[in-house]
Symmetry: C2
Subunit: 130 residues, 2 copies
Amino acid sequence: MHKEHTLTKNQQIIFDLIDKSPEPMKAYSILFNVQKKGIKAPLQVYRALDKLVEIGKIHKIESRNAFIACHNSSCQVSKATAFSICEICEKVTEISSASLSKYLANFKDKDGMKYSKYNLEFFGLCKKCR
Amino acid sequence: MHKEHTLTKNQQIIFDLIDKSPEPMKAYSILFNVQKKGIKAPLQVYRALDKLVEIGKIHKIESRNAFIACHNSSCQVSKATAFSICEICEKVTEISSASLSKYLANFKDKDGMKYSKYNLEFFGLCKKCR
DNA sequence: ATTTAGATTGTTATAATATAACACTATGTA
DNA sequence: TACATAGTGTTATATTATAACAATCTAAAT
């Protein structure tokens, strides 16, 4: 359905790191972790992050300036994202709910406008922190 | 229903500026604009912004690192926000839809968890830019 | 009126996040 | 081969945000 993107070396290194991380990673934390692999400058990280976001392999958690691997097989290229964020432990979970995405994709604002692109962040306490 | 907060001098100056602005304002743009009123340092701005966000007089547009006055009379203290953002002209509009807020407040994730606090940003093209 | 607790202020310094500009290199395709 | 496009490496810098500390204001309770 969609083009498979072959990741470049930097993109792969950075994706692997984020994908293995149990929590969202911040750009400079990523930088610190990949310096031993030859990625030395912030821009190298940000460029890879931009591309990975663009092709849907990772998502940016806007309220946290952090990045998480996409674990929702249906949103590889999607820009329609939803997350829950624990306000205590900062655990972030991607929400993949067909009814939610359907509702939001069909939502019309007061001008009758629909939006296929959105980002939704829910805040609360996760199971463990409740 | 809710406590009226009397704004302090700095808070009032900064709120007035944001409230008059037709578009979201960034912190350092706010700083530049209030320097003639004696607010000289970033922290003075950020502290007022934090408080204004906390009491619901303004909202932060997370994807833009910018602040907009609340024009939704029902969300003075609310943390349940929704916006549409034009990807060309960057116009931001707060969405106040009873059905949307009802849907989101009642949304349950796969653990059955509900969230009273959320932020939703829709992206698309506004009327003028379409 | 005085005390006191909490919020707010002013200030300097610094941390954290992100991009500009430019020359160079790899990769795929005509 | 040669051309276009995307990616790289690098230095410098812009932008966004917070730490720490002393001083001041404000409201409520003596």
